[in-house]
C-alpha cells in the first residue's frame, strides 16, 4: 500500500517539502513567459537608463571618471535587495491569488519549511531578474559587476537577508490583514531608498536622518561598495555592522511572520484569505 510516510515528530525539517514549494514555483514560471519577462524587465530598463546616464556623467564629473561603475553597481545591488523582497512577497501572493494557500497550509509542511521554501523561490527570482541586467551592463557599458571582487559576496548575502526579513514581515501582514495589505509588497522598501545611500554617501544626509540610516543594514553595504569602488579599500567594519543589524532584522521578520501566522490561526483567516 502506498500510504504516505508518517512524520513522527512536530519539529522535523524536510527538504522534500521545501522542494515541493520550489517545484510549484518553477512550474509556474515555466508555464508563464509573461512572468519571466516581468522579472527581468525593470532591472534591464533601469540598467539601460542609468547606464547611459553613467556614460554621460563620466565625461562631466571627476567622481564618475574615477569610478565608472558607481551607479551601475548601486543599481544592481539595489535590485538584489528589492527583487529579493518582492520575490518573497510574490511567492506568497501567488498562493493567495490562486486560492491555493489553504491547500498548502493544511498539508504537512511546517511554517518554517514554507518560509525556507519561499526564501529559495525569492533567490531564484533574483537570479532570473538581476542576471540579465548584470549581463547588459557588461555588454553595453563594459562594466562587470564581478570587478567588485570578493566583497560582492558579503554585499549580496547581506542584501538578500535584509530582503528576506522585510519580505517576510510584509507576508505576515498580508496573512493577517488580507489582500488589502498587498501593495506593501511593492511600496515598503522604497521608504528606505532615500536614506540608505544607494546613489550618494550618507554624509549628504542631515545628521538626524543619518542616525536613522545607520539602523538600516543596506546603508553599510552601499557605503562599503563606494569604499571599494572609489577608495579601493574593503571596509570589514561596515560589513560586520551590516551583518549584526541584519541578524536583528531577520529575527524580527521571522517573528513577525510567525506571530501573524498564529493570529491568522486564531481568527480563521487561512482558508478564507482574501480582500
Amino acid at each position: 500500500m502506498n500510504r504516505a510516510a508518517i512524520t513522527p515528530g512536530d519539529w522535523g525539517f524536510s527538504w522534500r517539502r521545501v522542494g515541493a514549494i520550489v517545484l510549484r514555483h518553477y512550474y509556474l514560471l515555466r508555464s508563464s513567459w509573461a512572468r519571466v519577462l516581468e522579472l527581468a524587465y525593470w532591472p534591464v530598463i533601469n540598467m539601460t537608463l542609468w547606464g547611459f546616464m553613467t556614460v554621460y556623467l563620466v565625461g562631466q564629473s571627476s567622481v564618475f571618471a574615477q569610478a565608472t561603475g558607481l551607479l551601475l553597481a548601486a543599481i544592481l545591488l539595489w535590485d538584489v535587495l528589492f527583487r529579493t523582497q518582492l520575490g518573497l512577497g510574490l511567492a506568497f501572493l501567488e498562493e493567495v491569488w490562486s486560492r491555493n494557500l489553504g491547500h498548502i497550509l493544511v498539508s504537512p509542511i511546517r511554517p518554517y519549511e514554507y518560509v525556507a521554501a519561499i526564501f529559495m523561490v525569492a533567490l531564484m527570482r533574483v537570479v532570473i531578474g538581476v542576471g540579465p541586467a548584470a549581463l547588459l551592463a557588461w555588454a553595453l557599458y563594459d562594466y562587470n559587476v564581478f570587478t567588485l571582487g570578493l566583497p560582492l559576496i558579503p554585499f549580496f548575502i547581506n542584501l538578500v537577508i535584509l530582503g528576506w526579513a522585510i519580505g517576510l514581515a510584509i507576508n505576515g501582514l498580508i496573512l493577517r490583514f488580507g489582500l488589502g495589505a498587498e501593495s506593501m509588497a511593492w511600496m515598503a522598501l522604497f521608504v528606505l531608498a532615500p536614506i540608505c545611500g544607494i546613489y550618494y554617501p550618507l554624509s549628504v544626509l542631515p545628521e538626524w536622518l543619518r542616525v536613522i540610516s545607520y539602523l538600516i543594514p543596506a546603508s553599510y553595504v552601499f557605503e562599503g561598495m563606494r569604499a571599494v569602488l572609489i577608495e579601493h579599500t574593503f571596509r570589514a567594519d561596515l560589513l560586520i555592522a551590516a551583518a549584526l543589524i541584519n541578524i536583528v532584522y531577520f529575527a524580527g521578520g521571522v517573528a513577525a511572520f510567525l506571530y501573524c501566522f498564529r493570529a491568522a490561526r486564531h481568527r480563521g483567516l487561512i482558508l478564507q484569505i482574501g480582500e
Binding site: 504516505a4 522535523g12 522542494g19 509556474l28 490562486s98 493544511v106
Partner: protein, 250 residues
C-alpha cells in the same frame, strides 16, 4: 470497539462577541462517512478548519486518529487530506504538476505511480497534462479529488464536495467516495448542504445549528424521529425550530 477516527470534546470558538461553535462534542467511527449538516453559519467549515489545525479554538479538544490536532497536528496531517470547492489548485499548473507538488508535500513514496493510478481511477487521462485553469467544472472536481486522495488519506475532510456539479458528475463523485471508503477503510467527514448526498453516503449525520449540535443519528433514525420522508424535510424542521414530531407529541 475501535477508537474513533475523529473525536471532538466540548469545542468552543468565539470571535469576540460572536460565537461560531458552542460546546460541540462528537465522534466519528473509523471506516464510515459522517455528514456534518447545517445551514450557512452553522459552524461546519469552522469545525473542519479546527480539525485541520488551521483554526485554533477558544476552548475544547480535538483528536484525529488519536492525535491531539491542536498540539501535534504535524504528526497526523500526513495521514489526512482535505477538499473544498472554495480552495483551488493553481490554474497555470497542469493537473499532473499540481499532483506532483502535493505528492511531494505529503511525502508519497512513489509519486509517479500514484498519479498514474489516480489518473486511471478518476478518469483524468485526457486532461492530466492540461493547465488546471482550462478544465470544466467536472474535470476540476476530479482534479481536486485526486489532490485530496494523493496521499491515500485515512481521514478525509470534505467541504461540499459536489457543490456546483451537474447531477451526473455529482453522482460519479459520490460513487467514487463510497468505493474509496469501502476499499481503504478510510473515514470521511463531509460538510454539505446537499441532503440527498448525505442521505445516500452517510451512515451518521450530525445536525448543526448556530454553532451547536442540535441532533445526531443515522439518516433512518432522524427520518423516523422527525416523521419525515427525507433529510431535507428534517433539515427544514431543525432550521425552522419545529423540533422532532415525536418529541412534540410527547
Amino acid at each position: 470497539m475501535s477508537a474513533p477516527a475523529i473525536e471532538v470534546r466540548r469545542l468552543v470558538k468565539r470571535y469576540g462577541a460572536v460565537t461560531a461553535i458552542e460546546d460541540l462534542s462528537f465522534t466519528v467511527e473509523p471506516g464510515t462517512i459522517t455528514g456534518l449538516l447545517g445551514g450557512n453559519g452553522a459552524g461546519k467549515t469552522t469545525t473542519l478548519a479546527i480539525l485541520l489545525g488551521v483554526l485554533l479554538p477558544t476552548a475544547g479538544e480535538a483528536y484525529v486518529l488519536g492525535v491531539d490536532i491542536l498540539k501535534h497536528r504535524f504528526r497526523v496531517l500526513p495521514r489526512m487530506n482535505f477538499g473544498s470547492p472554495y480552495v483551488e489548485l493553481p490554474k497555470r499548473l497542469t493537473v499532473r504538476e499540481n499532483l506532483r507538488v502535493f505528492a511531494q508535500l505529503y511525502g508519497v513514496a512513489k509519486p509517479r505511480r500514484r498519479i498514474e493510478t489516480l489518473s486511471e481511477n478518476l478518469q483524468m487521462g485526457e486532461f492530466l497534462d492540461r493547465p488546471t485553469g482550462t478544465l470544466s467544472a467536472g474535470q476540476k472536481t476530479r482534479a481536486a479529488l485526486a489532490k485530496a486522495l494523493v496521499n491515500e488519506p485515512e481521514v478525509l475532510l470534505l467541504d461540499e464536495p459536489t457543490a456546483s456539479l451537474d447531477p451526473d458528475t455529482g453522482d460519479w463523485v459520490r460513487s467514487y467516495l463510497e468505493r474509496y471508503v469501502a476499499e481503504r477503510k478510510a473515514t470521511i467527514l463531509l460538510a454539505s448542504h446537499n441532503m440527498s448526498e448525505v442521505e445516500r453516503l452517510c451512515s451518521m449525520v450530525l445536525m448543526m445549528k448556530a454553532g451547536r449540535m442540535v441532533d445526531r443519528g443515522t439518516p433512518a433514525d432522524l427520518l423516523r424521529k422527525y416523521g419525515r420522508h427525507n433529510l431535507e424535510e428534517v433539515f427544514l424542521d431543525i432550521a425552522r425550530n419545529r423540533g422532532a414530531r415525536q418529541e412534540a407529541a410527547e
